[in-house]
């Protein structure tokens, strides 16, 4: 495999952030997806939702000024923006399950061309933990995944079928990877953007399921961050 260049996590998060409209209600998964919040394009402001009952929270406070009753789903301290609201967990998941979020951006172990997502359990024992992922994938109007294109061992993460336990069936519509932007349409991966330095053959070689082409393939931008 000859792929040397790939986007960093921050760059993937930046790319995902470009698709979030001004005023969108957004939930970002714990960890890597949280980075998306940093890269909102100039002039746009999304409203961030966290499962534990806050709408319109902002950045982390300065160290030493944390209020540990004001945290996000990753248990990190956050701050509030003007126009915030607190609510209990049932109302929070009414927002999720009821289709009120515009976008949820999650991490993934595996994504299938059917839109199936596996991101909660490797299926290998240990302590399973699901959190809000299974709710988010069936609630937001648009469910997107950000992920490295392959596993740390170099195995494809974009698959014909997931082999790990599913988080949701047919729920993902777009995948932002370290090499490409791929939509899921009618049970197929449709390539929308790829790094110019990566050939189609190389990209397909690290993708288990077939990458379809439907119109132009744009150049995946490599932002300087």
């Amino acid at each position: 495999m000859s792929i040397e260049t790939k986007l960093t996590n921050a760059q993937i998060a930046w790319r995902a952030a470009q698709d979030i409209q001004d005023g969108a209600y957004v939930n970002l998964g714990i960890g890597f997806p949280e980075m998306v919040a940093k890269f909102q394009p100039e002039g746009r402001q999304a409203i961030f939702h966290t499962e534990n009952g806050v709408l319109n929270f902002g950045e982390a406070p300065a160290a030493g000024t944390e209020d540990w009753d004001l945290i996000n789903a990753g248990k990190k301290a956050v701050t509030l923006r003007p126009g915030a609201a607190f609510f209990h967990h049932a109302d929070s998941f009414a927002m999720v399950r009821g289709g009120h979020l515009d976008v949820a951006i999650l991490g993934a172990y595996q994504v299938a061309q059917s839109g199936d997502l596996a991101n909660w359990s490797t299926g290998k024992g240990g302590v399973p933990a699901v959190g809000g992922a299974m709710d988010l994938v069936h609630g937001a109007k648009r469910v997107a995944v950000i992920t490295d294109h392959v596993t740390k061992k170099g195995e494809p993460k974009l698959l014909k079928e997931c082999t790990m336990p599913l988080t949701g069936v047919g729920c993902v519509t777009r995948v932002y990877t370290s090499l490409a932007v791929v939509d899921i349409e009618d049970g197929q991966f449709v390539l929308r953007e790829k790094l110019p330095t990566v050939s189609m053959d190389d990209l397909q070689s690290v993708t288990d399921a077939e990458l379809h082409i439907d119109g132009d393939i744009a150049e995946l931008i490599v932002p300087e961050l």
Partner: protein, 240 residues
């Protein structure tokens, strides 16, 4: 983020013939009278919107508000729990003449169906109405030795709601018992339009006391000193 709009007329301008519309309020308390009046005036001028399906706890009182909509023939179906009031003539006459359809729903079931619509719960079980005429045709299931009726979620194209404070994000508080169905209906409509008695800047409403977070609201219009249905009826006002 600015969901405000200048006038009630603009706020309700897009509601088409045949729409389903949740209207907040319990009797006159919480009734969004200025939004309703804008709809009534549009109908008088243009003949639209008509053939509306309206969800409300009641069916109006006197000759203002929802009663005026019904008397003018704008409503083809009511989904409600209690189609009676001090002066229920508008609905009673239309109903007995076969001009309006009625889906009668127990009040707690009505509230829960609306909540379920907003919360993505397509169906739930309730003990309410089991063994009664209102459970006819509905699935029944037994849990832990007791029988329950399956009820479906209720959603609408629009919700018209009255709130007390509102900000440009759509965060809302309510006034006393005027809260009633408002917070539920805000969650269950594709487009939620709210008249607020005081429009305030984002950040003015303490996040702890927000009752309806802005995510559930699409349009906010300020109506200062809103009318109170009970007082209009005592003054024998008529919009018909």
């Amino acid at each position: 983020m600015d969901k405000t709009i200048a006038t009630p007329a603009e706020a309700v301008a897009a509601i088409p013939d045949g729409a389903s519309v949740m209207i907040g309020g319990f009797g006159g308390s919480g009734a969004p009278l200025e939004l309703i009046k804008a709809l009534v005036e549009r109908f008088k001028e243009t003949g639209s919107p008509k053939n509306l399906t309206v969800v409300n706890n009641n069916t109006g009182n006197g000759k203002v508000g929802l009663a005026a909509m019904i008397e003018l023939g704008m409503v083809s179906k009511m989904i409600c729990s209690f189609p009676r009031s001090a002066d229920p003539r508008a609905f009673t006459e239309a109903y007995l003449a076969g001009e309006i359809e009625l889906e009668l729903v127990p009040q707690g079931t009505l509230a829960e169906r609306i909540r379920a619509g907003g919360a993505g719960i397509p169906a739930f079980y309730t003990p309410t109405s089991f063994g009664t005429d209102l459970a006819e045709g509905k699935p029944v299931a037994e849990f832990d030795g007791r029988k329950y009726v399956q009820e479906r979620w209720l959603k609408a194209d629009y919700a018209l709601v009255k709130a007390e404070l509102g900000d440009p994000h759509g965060n809302l508080t309510y006034r006393k018992a005027a809260r009633n169905f408002g917070p539920l209906m805000c969650t269950a409509a594709a487009q939620t339009i709210v008249q607020v008695s005081h429009l305030v800047d984002a950040g003015t409403i303490d996040p702890e006391v927000v009752v309806t977070p802005g995510i559930f609201v699409n349009t906010v219009v300020e109506v200062v000193n809103p009318a109170q249905e009970e007082l209009l009826n005592r003054a024998e006002e008529s919009w018909v």
